[in-house]
């Protein structure tokens, strides 16, 4: 049940040199590479079936509609949604979360209500709630992140105190893009449900890595992006429970989401059409379908195990470097395949620029998590994030590159 190293040949972009060195792509938290089957699915759509969807009655239009709706059905099975109409296609996680904030939000929140998030949210699962609080008079609170550098986690006692019946919405990440912490989504949703709060899960980092069953998790909304799970850019999903979606006002308006229109007003279709105004991103939905297939063919438990093993290995190897701070959960705790670290004397931007010359692609910065960085007393970290095609040998290359950098700046 482990991944075959041969799968690297499925990803054309991996087969290149950077600065004369073989590419070691460790920026998967930002976006993953795409297998040939995804690239081809998009091209094939344009070569054979390209047409607008829904309103067409000719052959190409019926094929395009079938392809687009099959992608929706496939997304539903991928996360075990109860029905395809619970899948709304968006541009990505950020738009999915904004959709909830702009549609569900004002219709359901009043002054005095509480929106709960956590201190480790990505800006995309934080700023929309700040804006919603401003708009509705609700208050935004955060579950604190506590612990030492390499033993960080959500504070369970604080969570229990914060989760009062005033909380109408609880938004949290399934997998922190900065810390690699994997939250217990089912347990958090159960607690939220007990006080009647609606739950929004940011699954941007977990969707391509962990098995996800929305019915087991018991969430109300779940957001993810295709490009972080071997799929195309420009496509993502908002999962929402059908009963909720069908009570929500529209988000964007225009062609395709309306029932009857007069010069005076309009009525809306049910979900998912209600939330998909205009021509959708048909080709990339079809590309996303191929990505779902690819990942399920590898097997998500195997992917999760692979990522976890690389994450633990990288933590262990990096921890031997002088002056390093590694941020994340305790060794052995649930974690994703990423590791965030900082050196005392070398800034993350210099680290990334140097590593690039060794062919190693890393990310340095605040990872769209400025407030958490500030809380941890850092302005930035370097992040190595792994995916199905990464190997233990690549971690050796990473560590060697880090040693060289430390030497250069010490020299």
């Amino acid at each position: 049940m482990s991944l075959s190293p041969n799968l690297r040949i499925d990803f054309p972009a991996l087969d290149q040199h950077v600065g004369g060195k073989p590419l070691v792509y460790l920026d998967n938290g930002a976006t993953t590479q795409k297998p040939r089957s995804v690239i081809d699915a998009v091209a094939r759509f344009y070569e054979r079936d390209n047409s607008n969807v829904h309103r067409g009655l000719h052959a190409l239009s019926m094929r395009a509609t079938d392809g687009y709706e099959a992608a929706r059905t496939r997304a539903a099975t991928f996360i075990n949604a109860a029905h395809p109409s619970e899948i709304v296609f968006t541009r990505g996680t950020t738009e999915s979360i904004n959709l909830v904030a702009q549609s569900w939000g004002p219709a359901n929140l009043r002054p005095g209500d509480i929106i709960l998030a956590t201190e480790m949210e990505h800006h995309s699962n934080l700023v929309p709630w700040q804006q919603l609080a401003l708009r509705t008079g609700a208050t935004l609170k955060y579950v604190p992140v506590t612990g030492n550098d390499a033993e960080l986690g959500l504070d369970p006692d604080a969570l229990d105190k914060l989760l009062t019946p005033q909380v109408k919405l609880f938004a949290f990440t399934h997998l922190s893009n900065t810390l690699g912490i994997l939250t217990d989504a089912a347990a958090l949703c159960a607690k939220a449900r007990a006080v009647g709060a609606v739950t929004v899960i940011d699954a941007a980092q977990s969707i391509g890595h962990e098995p996800i069953d929305v019915q087991v998790i018991g969430c109300d909304f779940l957001a993810f992006s295709g490009h972080k799970m071997a799929g195309p850019t420009g496509i993502g999903v908002l999962y929402g429970r059908r009963q909720l979606l069908n009570t929500m006002p529209p988000y964007q308006t225009g062609g395709g989401m309306v029932n009857a229109v007069t010069y005076e007003g309009a009525t809306w279709k049910p979900s998912p059409e209600r939330f998909e105004a205009g021509t959708p991103n048909v080709a990339d939905a079809i590309g996303l379908h191929a990505a779902f297939d690819y990942l399920d063919q590898l097997g998500r438990p195997a992917i999760a195990a692979h990522d976890f093993a690389l994450g633990e290995r990288a933590c262990a190897a990096l921890s031997e470097l002088p002056g390093i701070r590694i941020l994340g959960p305790k060794p052995g705790q649930p974690r994703g395949g990423l590791v965030s670290f900082a050196f005392a004397d070398v800034h993350a931007h210099d680290v990334v620029t140097f590593a690039d010359q060794d062919g190693v692609a890393l990310r340095g910065g605040h990872h769209c998590n400025q407030p958490l960085m500030r809380k941890l007393g850092l302005s930035s970290t370097t992040r190595a994030s792994f995916y199905v095609y990464n190997t233990p040998e690549e971690i050796d290359v990473l560590v060697k590159s880090m040693r060289r950098i430390l030497k250069f700046f010490a020299g």
Partner: protein, 143 residues
């Protein structure tokens, strides 16, 4: 590795390791902070402008990458003794260097930053301290 030694020239490494004029100078009547929120970098420049309008004391605080630290350190050595107009002219030459990669003969240490032009994302690191200094020069007297 040629690109990288172009970027991290010895002048830069030296200023990064041993920044000049780090800290608040004993006398100062102007202050401004430059921020690069998308990097998390920041830089506060303090300076003293004489009645004749010349910088006779300057210092900086803040954190950032080697490029921003070294460029701010070098900036302080260059701006000292200059008027606001002269400092601005110097910054324009510096900006020219980091965006074009070309440095005129007579320009000495600033030329060390020519390598930055190959790393467009780092240009704002190189100019962070300069922006803070020019901003400080525009402030009304304080402290």
């Amino acid at each position: 590795m040629s690109d990288l030694t172009d970027l991290y020239q010895s002048v830069i490494l030296d200023h990064n390791k041993r920044p000049r004029n780090r800290g608040k100078p004993p006398i100062a009547n102007r202050v401004a902070t430059g921020d690069n929120p998308s990097c998390g970098d920041n830089c506060t420049v303090y300076l003293h402008l004489t009645d004749e309008g010349r910088v006779d004391a300057i210092g900086f605080e803040g954190s950032g990458c080697a490029i921003s630290q070294a460029s701010t350190s070098l900036m302080t050595t260059q701006v000292k003794g200059k008027t606001a107009a002269e400092a601005e002219a110097l910054f324009n030459e510096f900006k020219q260097i980091v965006t074009s990669g070309q440095a005129p003969e007579e320009i000495s240490d600033l030329a060390a930053f020519a390598g930055v032009h190959a790393f467009p994302a780092r240009i704002k690191c190189a100019t962070l301290g300069w922006h803070a200094a020019l901003e400080a020069l525009k402030q009304p007297p304080s402290v």
